[in-house]
Amino acid sequence: MDPQDDSFDFLFKIILIGDSNVGKTCLVQSFKTSQFCERQQNTIGVDFTVRTLSIEGRRVKMQVWDTAGQERFRTITQSYYRSAHGAMIAYDISRRATFDSLPRWIHELKQFGAANVLTALIGNKRDLEAEREVQFEEACKLAEAKGLLAAVETSARDAWSVEEAFVMMARRLLMQNDTSVADDHTHAVMLRSNSHTVSLTSASSADEKKPCAC
């Protein structure tokens, strides 16, 4: 193992949840290896992935807990919610039902997670634009209504905004833990210009809301 990988300034645990087959494992793989695996099989229980990011000179270790989507595994995955600093709830923009499940996932997170867990909605499979069943505005509205950090659309297949979504989480968590990191909103710029902008609500002060520009 790369000895560099062992040293870090911050360690954040991110739990990745959402319905079956929305692309959770592919998102993690894309973040870890920048590759898309066409033959990805289902996840059983929980899988762990670690990647260390460098943000403003700080080494931020992201430990991602990728979970199984099937309902029956929840009693097992729920025990991982409590120690998570951040949560990414994924859905598939081409399957309405996976979006309709979001309130239930958010509720579970509230029930079993820490009170201040940073949460983002991830609309994956952005490459399936022709089959889109969920508009980005809807995700933004839901994120705002539930007081979440952001709504982002991604494509694990095209490595579209995947890295950015994780970096955004890392940055926000860093800001909470290290006051010397400024909230200059530059991370919004880091999303591709031809992608949807992220709706941001500051984790520390609710009056800093940025509208969801779609």
Binding site: F8, L11, R39, Q70, R72, F73
Partner: protein, 296 residues
Amino acid sequence: MKKSRSVGASSSLNGLGKQDGESRRKRKMAEITQALNMTPVDVPALRRMAISEGGLLTDEIRRQVWPRLLNVSVDNIPEQLETVDRDNNKDFNQVLLDVQRSLRRFPPGMPDEQREGLQEELTDIILRVLVKNPQLHYYQGYHDIVVTFLLVLGERLATALVEKLSTHHLRDFMDPTMDNTKHILNYLMPIIERVNPEVYDFMQQAEVGTIFALSWLITWFGHVLSDFRHVVRLYDFFLACHPLMPIYFAAVVRLRLFDSLSSSKPSSESLVSDIQQKWVSSFTATALAAIFRPCC
């Protein structure tokens, strides 16, 4: 632990020449044929063959022996399989999602058309067993086991064996909830403690938990092994043993992995999670090969 130890011990049978291996293989095949031809069939002998070095050797032998190990009477299996009503099935959508994503479970190089046909059969076997046994509930990973039976036995025989397996060996995993599965996972740490308290202490300290063994347990390692030959060899063993053997085997694998990683000691929270991750991801056929030395 007695059984898994004896299996471990068989791995010390190495360093023998190829010719020697070939003659042992032939001898074993003759012994299996003899056991099959006895009246009644010598099932205890078949069990010993399935457990001992090399397992049942070939899929052709497996087609004859696996039904015996599960006490399924091949003569009573109907020639025609029932048709499956896919539309009115609560599990259909999840089964379909998982079967569609099961490409890795088929031999590399298999033509797409053939694989797609087998995937249809896989879906049908699963739904057929579930419809016939409404007390059983589908879990992600069940298809990893069923596909192995399909590839070795074909649809008709696989349906009969999978049904038997689901109402016996896999029954606890197929409850409405995973409470019983969690209960079985809880056997893992006491087994490890009994064999090696040092490993137990390390794992407790590292707060590793037992989740890493979940897929091993409920798929009989089918989910994590990439070489089909290793999967069927392991299934020979599990079919010949008590239904709780997979959790004992998981303990053996974990203990072996600890030995191979014993230079890594947890010194910080981060290192612990790295080791944890390494443990989970480093389980490969190599670990299996170290425990089960393939015959010849």
